[in-house]
Amino acid sequence: MSATTLPGLRQRTASAPVVRRRRLGPGKPIRFGAAIGPVLLLVIWSIGSATGWIDQRVLSAPWTVVTTAGDLIADGRLQSNLWTSAQRALIGLAFGIVLGVVLALISGLSRLGEAVLDGPIQIKRAIPSLALLPLLILWLGIGESMKIVTILLGVFVPIYIHTHNGLRTIDSRYVELAQTVGLSQWEFIRRVVLPGALPGFLLGLRFAVTGAWLSLVVVEQINSTSGIGYMMELARTYGQTDIIIVGLVVYGILGLLSDAVVRLIQRRALSWRRTLAS
């Protein structure tokens, strides 16, 4: 079939069967590609530790970290510190979420509320929560309330911003619909406002969770007597890099887990967004 009288075609069949367009995207994803970087780091770390190229005082060997984690779990220190930290984060998160949602509702549903609340919160937003620490320590001391309030302050701002934005951008056509079917104020809030603002709220929640962990790390290293951050701070004074690494790994796992939980909630709560096409 290739031996035809069309030389141009024949030549093409021989050398370049199909004209391929140059690929512009990065190409097919590599299997387990996301694991390559971390594994490589782990390998370098192991080799460095084994050959003595990495000083144990600067960075403990991976196997030391693993056995230290085992010891910490065996004597219960890791669990009790983790529990304290988780409690702080959850309490701060819970109060921050409630505060953020309530303020967003007040400011989103009434012009007066917006006039009063939105300005101060935008100003608060411009100041990093952690910059308020000196004041909070003066006002609240160095106890639990200071820690929880600091976390709360880092949480309520993203919740407020995104929920408020969600409220403000609810399609006015739905407001009109609510009028024509004669919804009461409360039904309007329940049927239209809250579900309409939910995507915004959940976006805010993802930022809030990240913010909660960040604040937690900082407050736990200030005059704490318990918590993961305290455990790490104590380890620092004794130069125990293995314990510090265990703490870092725990923080990392907590961050990843909580983000996964929020994304799961997002998928469940916004299942109506899935369409025929997807």
Binding site: R173, E176, L177, A178, T180, L183, R191, W272, R274, L276
Partner: protein, 236 residues
């Protein structure tokens, strides 16, 4: 304000609505009898939606004058189905109504969507969404149904099916209807009476007496259509 509504469902007298000192409705008079189907034709920008919104009580901030009497129980169908995307079909139909879930189910059955109660609006086609919107309007048993180009976004075939459905529903529920459309044939097929709005005034009115399955092939149909097109300023 509410004048004595005896035999009419809707009574509009000398209705004026202004946007930025420009009269968009300029002295409209209109009566609609109980159960009467009125189609409102007009060029784009002639004030059709403005009139409909006035009747629906949706023009709070619009300046104007005139007398307006409409019944308590009015339903509106918009050009977009305006279903709440986060509420299932059934909840959309029953929005703002308490209890009696059975009514919602029946209403969906009436528009040919039995068994789709639990679907999300996003899972329905455009025509199906608009049928849900019809169910939502009619489950309230309105005395007046206002519809602003309800089939304007649908394809021609779906639109024909919707005409049949709407006729059937109106026969069953007997609301007075004001249907805004820019489709002359649609107006003639569906309505008892067609009025033409131009620059905020009613400039023509046709009572349609053609026999029931109305067809564009009917010579009477063609005559009405050419008169209406004339009133719309379209020469054929």
């Amino acid at each position: 304000m509410a004048t004595n509504v005896g035999l009419v469902t809707v009574q509009v007298r000398d209705l004026v609505r202004r946007y930025d000192d420009r009269a968009v409705l300029d002295g409209v008079d209109l009566d609609i009898e109980p159960g009467e189907f009125v189609a409102l034709l007009g060029k784009s920008g002639s004030g059709k939606s403005t009139l409909l919104r006035a009747l629906a009580g949706l023009d709070h901030d619009v300046e104007g004058s005139g007398e307006l009497a409409v019944p308590e129980n009015v339903s509106v169908v918009f050009q977009d189905s305006r279903l709440l995307p986060w509420a299932r079909v059934h909840e959309n139909v029953m929005l703002g109504l308490s209890g009696a879930d059975e009514r919602g189910r029946q209403s969906l059955e009436e528009v040919g969507l039995a068994g789709r109660e639990k679907a999300w609006p996003n899972e329905l086609s455009g025509g199906e969404q608009q049928r849900v919107a019809l169910a939502r309007s009619l489950v309230r048993e309105p005395e007046l149904l206002l519809a602003d180009e309800p089939f304007g976004a649908l394809d021609a075939l779906t639109r024909l099916k919707m005409h049949v459905l709407l006729r059937k529903l109106c026969a069953a529920h007997q609301p007075a209807v004001l249907l805004v459309t820019h489709d002359v044939d649609e107006a003639i097929v569906l309505a008892d009476r067609v009025i033409v709005l131009d620059a905020g005034r009613i400039v023509a009115e046709e009572t349609i007496t053609l026999p029931a399955p109305r067809s564009a092939a009917d010579p009477g149909f063609a005559a009405v259509r050419s008169r209406l097109l004339d009133a719309l300023g379209v020469s054929v």
